[in-house]
Symmetry: C2
Subunit: 232 residues, 2 copies
DNA sequence: ACTTGCATAATTGTTGACAATTAATGAATT
DNA sequence: AATTCATTAATTGTCAACAATTATGCAAGT
């Protein structure tokens, strides 16, 4: 288990200047990867010992994990790692559909021609990767996230970007990691990405939003089936 | 200024069992009402003194306020009360449009007949209130929030409800409080609410979402003009 | 006059101890 | 045997002191 004591100082990593943030990152990774199993009781003193820090900064990390819904906390009773269920994932995918649909609409309005060209190039690159890796799921995952992330950035909507990137994607990643790998529908996804990119290139906001929503709700249908099959 | 030292104990208020939560509520109210002005530097020791608690729980409160975007915090440099600008409000209204549109769609699918009847009754009540108060803005505000809140609850989507109620509405409330009161377009709003409720009653998901989005983007146009006029 | 560098002060980050609350254990009673 | 109640243990909440970092002000040099 990845329980390296966090002893690095400020200068070592300007990105994570504080113990609280470093432990936050570590714990987050452990939860998403499943090394901290769902439903695990979080005992502050234990975790503090494990990560080699005191309870103060660890507490801050826990609070931040609570905010991105990776941990549930009840006053005086402690915290547990979240347990994903179908209902929760359904809620997340619905929210994602709404937000990414809006992001695609805004991207169609705001993207520069250069950005659009870069987006198209990214998809070409994904096509190559798919051929080379022959459906090795991992790279497709990252490619998928790449695409969606770019749309969110291009929307120039800070709130949407933060919530997609900081919260929803984390939960989806966690779900993927722990429900075994999802099936490789790489070609379908790439086709849909291409259609979305083309709608954006045509500045067709309506269509870009529609296609993005269809893309995501389609993904949900597949995820849903997998989750249902697992619970039998 | 509302600087009552927080000395109450657990039994006094089961809803806010911890100093951190009580101070969170207090500070939140102070920020939204403007008693803690936008851009104010937050000094932990000062605030701790003001609220009569130590820095520990106060820090937790600050972290939570950061998460709902009422405070911005930079490591080792401290925190400030957020400063609302037009861009931020635009982002918020766009996100709200997407999420509440989805909520209306889900509500049209999931609401029971009883809930629909209750929603209709609520709107009748609002109509009465409008006549009685003759455009006194405050009650209209709360009525408006009432309606939107019910839709969010009816969507049965926990993520959407949490983000609307816990974060977006807070920022909109803050904007209203501090940009002077918004104009009373009570009758227009009520009409639109009625149309949305009717679409829900007919189980027309598509129309419910469409009308809700139009309602919110219309509201944004008005808010936008007000904010632009103020900055001249 | 402007910049540079150092010394000082102010503020945040971190820690370990203490208090309050909840959960667990087990004895006494019906 | 089951239930209640008190006792104990475990865990979270709170506090005040200490360390690390950043901001401030002043003096010296160019």
């Amino acid at each position: 288990m990845n329980s390296i004591p966090i002893t690095a100082t400020r200068a070592d990593n300007p990105e994570a200047p504080t113990l609280a943030r470093r432990s936050f990152d570590s714990i987050k990774a452990d939860i998403i990867s499943g090394q901290l199993a769902q439903g695990t009781k979080i005992v502050e003193s234990d975790l503090a010992l494990k990560y080699g820090i005191s309870r103060g900064p660890l507490r801050e990390a826990i609070h931040r994990l609570e905010q991105i819904k990776l941990i549930v906390r009840v006053p005086h009773a402690g915290s547990r790692v979240i347990t994903l269920d179908i209902k929760m994932m359904q809620d997340i995918y619905s929210a994602r559909e709404a937000l990414e649909g809006m992001a695609a609409r805004l991207a169609a309005r705001l993207m520069t021609d250069n950005e659009i060209a870069a987006l198209s190039a990214l998809l070409d690159q994904h096509a190559d990767t798919i051929i080379q890796t022959e459906g090795k799921a991992y790279f497709q995952r990252e490619g998928d996230i790449d695409f969606h992330f770019r749309i969110a950035v291009a929307s120039q909507n800070h709130w949407i970007l933060e919530n997609l990137h900081g919260e929803l994607y984390q939960l989806i990643r966690m779900c993927r990691h722990q429900s075994g790998q999802f099936p490789a529908r790489a070609h379908t996804a790439l086709d849909q990405h291409r259609q979305i990119a083309e709608a954006i290139a045509r500045r067709d906001e309506e269509l870009a939003e529609l296609l993005m929503r269809r893309h995501i709700s389609g993904a949900w249908e597949i995820v849903k089936k997998i989750l249902e099959d697992q619970n039998d």
